[in-house]
Amino acid sequence: MTYTFKLNDRIFKITLEESDGQIEVEIDGEKIPVDYKKIEDNLYSIILDGRSVTLGVFKKGKKIQVFLDGDLYDLESISEREQRKSSLAASGVQEIKAPMPSRVVKVLKSEGDEVKRDEGVVVIEAMKMESELKSPIAGKVRNVMAKEGDAIETGTVLMVVASDTPPAE
């Protein structure tokens, strides 16, 4: 079976085959035999050519968190169709949402302002800390919903940013 994973902006393809109780994977055209064992429900041990790699794995639907060497990777299993769509996500219209229950400390951009990709647009406070939410795309601020001092819930839309170029088809 072939799986396609999205990690940030990158797409990875991997084919997994099982025969004789042995797994073989194909990545980037290279075939690799894998000795795999589940240690606990969320802990996998993989031995690749003698090299022992132990990973944390948490799957929820199509989202898979993998903990590898100290860092957490948020992978998403996507279909061919989703893959095409996802390559367009970097343009179009993006909503800036509250990632957790928090309070709006400062709104850094007004309607019509130009924003760069990864530029901070709203400052929120949660868990005694201020955090800056960033725009995932370059463009113009289309709407500002957030008001300083607002108490907001996870998922509240705070701002809408539209890319300069209309989404390609």
Partner: protein, 498 residues
Amino acid sequence: MFKKILIANRGEIAVRIIRACRELGVSTVAVYSDADRRSLHVALADEAYHIGGSAPGESYLKKENVIDAARKSGAEAVHPGFGFLSENAEFAEMCEKAGIVFIGPTPEAIRLMGDKITARKIAYDAKVPLVPGSEGAVSDVEASVVAGEVGYPLMIKASAGGGGKGMRLVRSKEDFESALRMARSEARSAFGDESVYVERFVEQPRHIEIQLIADSYGNVLHLFERECSIQRRHQKVIEEAPSGFISAKTRKKMGDVAVKIAKAVKYKGAGTIEFIMDQKQNFYFLEMNTRVQVEHPVTEMITGFDIVKWMIRIAAGEKLPFKQGDIKMNGHAVECRVYAEDPGTNFMPSPGTIEYLSTPSGPGIRDDSAIYNGCEITSFYDPMLSKLIVWADTREAAIDKMASALREYIVLGVKTNIGFLRRVMADEEFRQCKIDTGYIERHPELISPGERDLRPALIAAAIAMENSTASGPQSQTAAASSWKLFARRSGIMRSPLA
């Protein structure tokens, strides 16, 4: 000794205090908010009382509820931990009135050191160095006099200031006049008030603090220093004891002045004097924390002195049986605070459910935490998951041990700074102790892992997908055939992916 103590806190510090009580043969009473019914401090305590809603203001900060629980349970003393009511003089007073011992200093001492101006005055009177500068706002003439005394580089700061507005760094005398003019003008337009003050600019400042312990009989000891220079958002992330930077002479000087301050306010219990230090080991009083500190374990590791137990003993009227000379330093300890946060988005907190947890253990490793598989990290409280502390005979060995321990830390469900901490441990500047409070900002390359071989992650993800279908390789046996495969293939796994 008390028979029963109420712990007016939550999280790892509540657990830490419960353990200390148990070892002293003291019964423990936990209090908990709605969000904390499943918390570890409730599970570990002998008794547990609900004290209100999830927001701190509805529970852990509700003085009356805490006192009520103490009364109901028959607790003779309250340990406040840190944060919440720990530096609340009024709460300490309420305890006194209710006939319950507050495990900490007197309300008077809390009040004196809690007010920055008073605290600075006390330090000044005790001849403790303060950052040189003008005491309060100055005229242009006064400013230039003070500047002459303070020397360069110096800072001009707006009295009404904040956020960097009306603030000017001046590196030489020539630039002083124009900088003063600009600072005043900026202050006027920003705050409608052109008053400014002048202060020495501490370049590449280090945060170094002295741990104190004092009994009710006037004995005050210091337990050497901690270096807490690795900070993000003005919050400590990595702490060490001793500092790898200061000399024995500086250590003694700092200890002596810290003891002086404590004596000036008839301090009792555990407390910490925080200093800012420049790269020439000049140090200046910042403030005193009149409670146990998050990073107290590194001091415990190098002295063998159990700070939390002694807080309790002292509150019960025991006398310190040591003299300053009995306290010895041994080896080196490092603490890493493991946070539920995303270093990639400016260390933003990452609340959620811990879906899987594996923590390090072994020789010289201490993990002070209150998390477990399946526990929730809510946005009501601090996102600190755990304090990982290691001890070894030298700083280098301690850093190596921390690096090794961090390799065993696995957390799923929330983002953490574990990878970031691992990269700090491997960083040459950190290893050479070239650190100051600007270290993290100066090292954006440590934030993310960069390119690495992601094949194991992809393979694991693919297996997880496969396993979720019925026919997947649920738990393949370690087949002897692996042998053949290993033999057939070699040296193909070295190049990083992409």
